[in-house]
Amino acid sequence: MKWNKRRLIDRIMSILTAACVVIAIIPLLSILYTVIINGISAIDLDFLTQLPKPVGEAGGGLGNAIQGTFIVVGIACLIGLPVGILSGIYLSEYGENRFGRMVSFVADVLTGTPSIVAGMFGYTFIVLYFGSFSAIAGGVALSVLMIPVVTRTTEESLKLVPASIKEASLALGIPRWKTTLHIVLSTARSGIITGALLAIARISGETAPLLFTSFGNMFWANGVDKPISTLPVQIYTYAVTPFPDWHAKAWAGALVLIILILILNISVRFATRRKYG
């Protein structure tokens, strides 16, 4: 009897905890479903290639926002990837000292920076300095979010490289820096690329840092020192208006954005699985 009761509780807890998983997945499915259903009905070639139209005018698209997202994320990568990867190399290869531990700690703490605060930094640091909203300011704000993530993932994937490989290279008389660049880095390449892609996927969808750095623009990009339209900001702008036509545009924009990001995420997952599996 007692044994049965214990067995029963075991069953019940298995089912309860499994229910937690199911309930947690429901919002994801609902989000994907609504974005796909609402997005597909509003998306067409014009949407991807045209400029936005004023409210009330049919047609138009978010071509410039898609272009702008690539530009701003590109700028963020130009700053964030070198800084992140090189500091990751420092941490894993030379970081066994007080300074290294401090950098590592600061990077960890920076990963918790609220994205809106990164935007503020882009504003006070770049926008105030140059006197105008700009694509560069947006890229700087995004790189603040990117650097700590790339630093830590690079460090972790470099630390996975077996010491024997390094020692073999050093024993052949190859200097340490060449060993790091040619042997260690190429062994850890897939891990570093994975970290970089995930960081890119994360910042591509960020809105808050761009609200008052890259701001927005109704036209095609005309220079990195000018305000520029981006997909996440445009989705937000359209979502909070009362116009059904713009809501449809927001859903279509969300579909484009989510496809970009999910492709990055899922391909990374499959690439790494094949590597280790």
């Binding site: 947690a24 920076t113 979502a239």
Partner: protein, 319 residues
């Protein structure tokens, strides 16, 4: 070359300086990370000086936010951020721990990896898209299906009184809960997986069922790490901007009811920063941003110390 034993000392100068240059270059970039953190704090501190000098501590306790007469008190936003984040924890923590237990202890081996991947996928969905879904799907759902029973059965509590229009503190809390479940559950799961196998085997050998093993041998061991995961989720909730801004109603008032609209620190920055015209207005918003950064950093440090401790204990136990 003719003295191989002493090769390290006889290496040509260029080799030594190659190493030196390389270390210096990567070290400089590492220094860049620290400089970045320093600049982040410095910029916000300098730019919020005006507000700090004008209002002092009154900024934290003032509940008037009036851009026209330039009186700024951040209390409604601090209130909104704390309440919505606690509400999110209240909802998310039981689910996250349940998920972590299922995926690390009770689920069939084959399901563990795919299920945890799907749950973590939610963390990859941009906040603005979750907000869009929140406006058009979640807010009406809560207004029509969750709020009526709450006010019928729990309406005697001030928490569930008053009219419900969909965009409310409750909706903000629910959407934050959805957004922090991936991080809280995956860190909890990792922490639970660091519990040594012997712990489980000992309990199983005594005849404990799967759940009993988890309850007696695994959870007490992982407690501080799970607490760290919860704090990490709290930090995420506090800094979250877009989704909350889109569903919380953006009204700077302190109300007892979860049905009334509210405002968070991050949302007021998102909404008003571009429109802020006067120096004092901008400076006040930046001070809110600085407070937000400070809270997030403290929370993050606390959480990491708790989670790290787990991994260290595990490392020590194995050795």
């Amino acid at each position: 070359m003719d003295r191989p034993k002493l090769s390290f000392f006889s290496i040509r100068r260029s080799k030594l300086s190659g190493d030196f240059i390389f270390e210096a270059v990567v070290g400089l970039f590492a220094l860049g990370v620290i400089v970045l953190a320093f600049l982040l704090f410095r910029e916000l501190l300098i730019e919020s000086q005006l507000s700090w000098n004008t209002f002092g501590m009154g900024f934290l306790t003032g509940s008037t936010w009036d851009p026209v007469s330039e009186i700024f008190g951040a209390l409604p936003f601090i209130f909104g951020t704390l309440v919505s984040s606690f509400l999110a924890l209240l909802i998310a923590v039981p689910f996250s721990i349940g998920i972590a237990i299922y995926l690390s202890e009770l689920a069939p081996e084959k399901l563990r990896t795919p299920l945890s991947f799907i749950i973590e996928l939610l963390a990859a969905v941009p906040s603005v898209i979750i907000g869009l879904w929140g406006i058009f799907i979640l807010a009406p759902f809560i207004r029509d299906y969750l709020a009526p029973p709450l006010s019928t059965y729990l309406g005697f509590l001030p928490l569930f009184q008053g009219p419900m229009y969909g965009l409310s503190m409750l909706t903000g809390g629910v959407i934050l809960a959805i957004m922090i479940i991936p991080i809280t559950s995956s860190v909890s799961r990792e922490v639970i997986m660091t519990v040594p196998l012997q712990q489980r085997e000992a309990a199983l050998a005594l005849g404990a069922t799967g759940w009993e093993t988890t309850r007696i041998a695994v959870l007490p061991y992982a407690r501080s790490g799970i607490f760290g995961a919860v704090i990490l989720g709290f930090g995420r909730a506090i800094g979250e901007t877009m989704a909350v801004t889109m569903v919380i109603g953006n009204s700077p008032r302190i109300s007892e009811s979860l049905f009334s609209p509210s405002y968070t620190m991050a949302s007021v920055i998102a909404n008003e920063f571009v429109e802020a015209t006067s120096k004092l207005y901008i400076s006040s918003l930046i001070e809110i941003g600085f407070l937000l950064l400070l809270i997030s950093v403290i929370i993050n440090i606390a959480a990491r110390i708790l989670v790290w401790k787990m991994f260290k204990v595990e490392g020590g136990g194995r050795a």
